[in-house]
Symmetry: C2
Subunit: 342 residues, 2 copies
Amino acid sequence: MNQKIFDNNWLIESGNEKDVVLISRIRLARNLKEFNFPNKATLSEKEKIIDELQNNLNFLKDKNFHLFKMEEFSSLERDVLHEKNLISKCHSENIEGTALILNNKLHLSTMVNEEDHLRIQVFGSGLDFTTIWQIADQFDDQIESEVEYAFSNKWGYLTSCPTNVGTALRASVMCHLPALVLSDRINEVLGAVGKFGLTVRGVFGEGSGSAGELFQISNQVTLGYSEKEIIDNLKSIILQIIREERRTRLYLVNKNYDKLKDNVLRSLGILKYAHSLKENEALNFLSKVKFGLDSGLIEEEINKNAFSELIFKIRTAHLQLNNYNNKEQLNIKRAELIRNSL
Amino acid sequence: MNQKIFDNNWLIESGNEKDVVLISRIRLARNLKEFNFPNKATLSEKEKIIDELQNNLNFLKDKNFHLFKMEEFSSLERDVLHEKNLISKCHSENIEGTALILNNKLHLSTMVNEEDHLRIQVFGSGLDFTTIWQIADQFDDQIESEVEYAFSNKWGYLTSCPTNVGTALRASVMCHLPALVLSDRINEVLGAVGKFGLTVRGVFGEGSGSAGELFQISNQVTLGYSEKEIIDNLKSIILQIIREERRTRLYLVNKNYDKLKDNVLRSLGILKYAHSLKENEALNFLSKVKFGLDSGLIEEEINKNAFSELIFKIRTAHLQLNNYNNKEQLNIKRAELIRNSL
């Protein structure tokens, strides 16, 4: 696979509230009526599904779309796709009878034969479900016009796992919540989120101690609500979290102006000068710098979008694509990439 | 006293080996024959001594020299003079019947009625006893031509404390020894120094844990050797320490290139960006940056002399001269001064 594709911007640059929301994502699970679900399907059945898609989906003849069999990718390329969230860990490991449909810009991806026959995903920057839902919905209709989905009038879209049945829609946002973490209010606020049918996890690493103070919040319930209701519910909770994070930032900045200013500026100084940076360490300094920029503590002109790009580009597999394999070399390359980006 | 005087460069800029030796100093203790030593003298006797000097020393009529009574200085100004090493702690505190003779450039100072009637000091940057000894010797001769010293053919120059008798000469250097500290060899090397009649102390704080990895090394013995022998002995030991420090730097840089480069560059990044810096913390980062510059780990163009200026300018009394009295304000002002200097 051409390495250039990995440099593409895989986020639609249209969203808002970018001081708190980095990425919005919509995922739809779909299955083809005539085939067993992937967990029951044999390898030859899975290959037949891929052929079926290849033959029937007209948009694959379009230059903007590609269907790749997973075995076409090197192990490193699969890791990069996983780091970009374009595929799941599981999909990066199971390469027999699996495939990936990507558009050129990478913001629209579809895993083939992961847990379901099709897992359609759309990614946008900032809070932006209007745009990405429109893209996902349109893409879904396009596929449905060419293949027959497993659908029940009672249950909606049928899926391998019953928790996805119904709309089979999962909407999620990646949020940057440094003030809630710093003020030790993160567990309280994120705990409350569960009561509204949402789930939270750290983006890098497990639990609330997420590196970079990044959290992914998504809906848990897919059945009994329309797509619009699910998205609107998520959006309204996210807006409350945004308000809470912003209020806490103001409070902290007022209370500890000099200390926080010092902390974020030192982080910037280290990112601008370090010779070597480990992944988690880099994420944490980037998080501090983004907080400093968004809260006005850092006045220097720095491209704010650098942050959402860097949190992916500095990850190990992304760096390894450039042939830096020794661990210390990776840390050095990571520091260089950050210095050049800021 | 005009604040401008404190901004003067009090080091003669002529020495060598500046990667290791920051400052050379020579101190001569002298007493006037006709008066009790200061520890026995009454206040009126001390005042008489000051008058005697004021009347007899012709060079004091010269614009380049000033005799200040210590009580003319504010407490803060005395702290600044002490931070510059121009006066002792004791001299900054006892302001009755004491005085200070300074030349305009501040590299030549004489405490009057400290432990001895006269304590002449000359300061130069780098290793440079030739120049500063010449200045001290000439200045001493000039005074001796106008007042009569307490001198014994058997003991040499007589002093309040018997350990100074003889030449009454103390020569010292302030050395930057980061590699010997980092490699845990500092105590071994400095311990050996004692066997050659020298003593060592941390410049800031006590013991070998000196902030900024700065050490002052001076002769202990003043009797039984000529001035030239004392200086030559000190110089030959210092040259060995310089060699040892340089060898250790090379060794460490070869062994831990990336780790050290990262460490010194992060220190530079913090100094260039921090909003607030405590005194010891600033000294330690400055020490790392100087080490980085001297060992080639930092390639950026930075004024190397900034280091020997900054280690004094960032000290508390120096900063307070500019009316920053609140402790946090001082730290912020310190960080600003360093950012602007680098």
